[in-house]
């Protein structure tokens, strides 16, 4: 009986998220966050693609992209 009770408590703890369990998080990593075009002539349009990946273990969500 005691053994059944322990198993049930463990299952309940896992289902609600045990405090000692590792939290799953996303991890955003950009290949190259800085691009230097060097010398260019005025009037040129400079285009750069920034590649990134999710190295974490949860879904990565991009909330906003804003130029400054």
């Amino acid at each position: 009986m005691r053994r059944y009770c322990l198993a049930a408590c463990s299952a309940l703890a896992l289902s609600v998220g045990a405090p000692w369990a590792q939290q799953r998080t996303p991890g955003i990593v950009f290949e190259d966050p800085v691009k230097d075009f060097g010398k260019v002539y005025a009037g040129e349009t400079l285009v750069q693609v920034f590649n990134f990946s999710n190295r974490g273990d949860a879904v990565l969500e991009i909330a906003e992209v804003r130029p400054t």
Binding site: T25, I28, V34, T45
Partner: protein, 142 residues
């Protein structure tokens, strides 16, 4: 990044906000050194206080950046009080030009304004505009 109107060292940043708790905000950056394709010796043509009845003349030089295949095709003035013409600097091989602006002798007293429209063969800068500002003073034996 659009570089029209920019010059010198330029950098622009982009902030990416995500749900990554260790990198809520990542800053991306693009940098460049923007060079003029056409270098001007002055930012415009300015006449100041020449008396009415006397023709006035101003000049500026335009130089095409080394290695650029562009040429200047034509110049025109939208200011009826100012005529403009273009001369190639001899020996420069269509790389250096002299723009000569002449304020008419019969221009009326007061201010006048306009634009010089420079047409080029450049795909980056097919048309360049420079301001003309002028003030004609009173005529008479001054």
């Amino acid at each position: 990044m659009y570089t029209t109107g920019l010059s010198g060292h330029v950098s622009k940043s982009i902030v990416v906000v995500s749900n990554d708790p260790r990198n809520r905000e990542v800053t991306l950056q693009v940098r460049a050194e923007v060079l003029p394709e056409f270098a001007f010796s002055a930012l415009g043509i300015f006449f100041s206080g020449e008396p009415r009845g006397r023709e006035a003349r101003r000049e500026l030089t335009i130089e095409v950046a080394p290695g650029r295949p562009s040429r200047i095709v034509s110049v025109e003035s939208t200011d009826p009080q100012v005529k403009v013409r273009l001369e190639q600097v001899p020996g420069s091989g269509e790389r250096k030009y002299r723009l000569i602006a002449t304020q008419r002798a019969d221009a009326p007293e007061g201010y006048h304004f306009g634009t010089i429209i420079i047409k080029t063969t450049s795909k980056l800068n097919p048309e360049i505009r420079l301001p003309i500002r002028g003030l004609v003073g009173p005529s008479g034996g001054q």
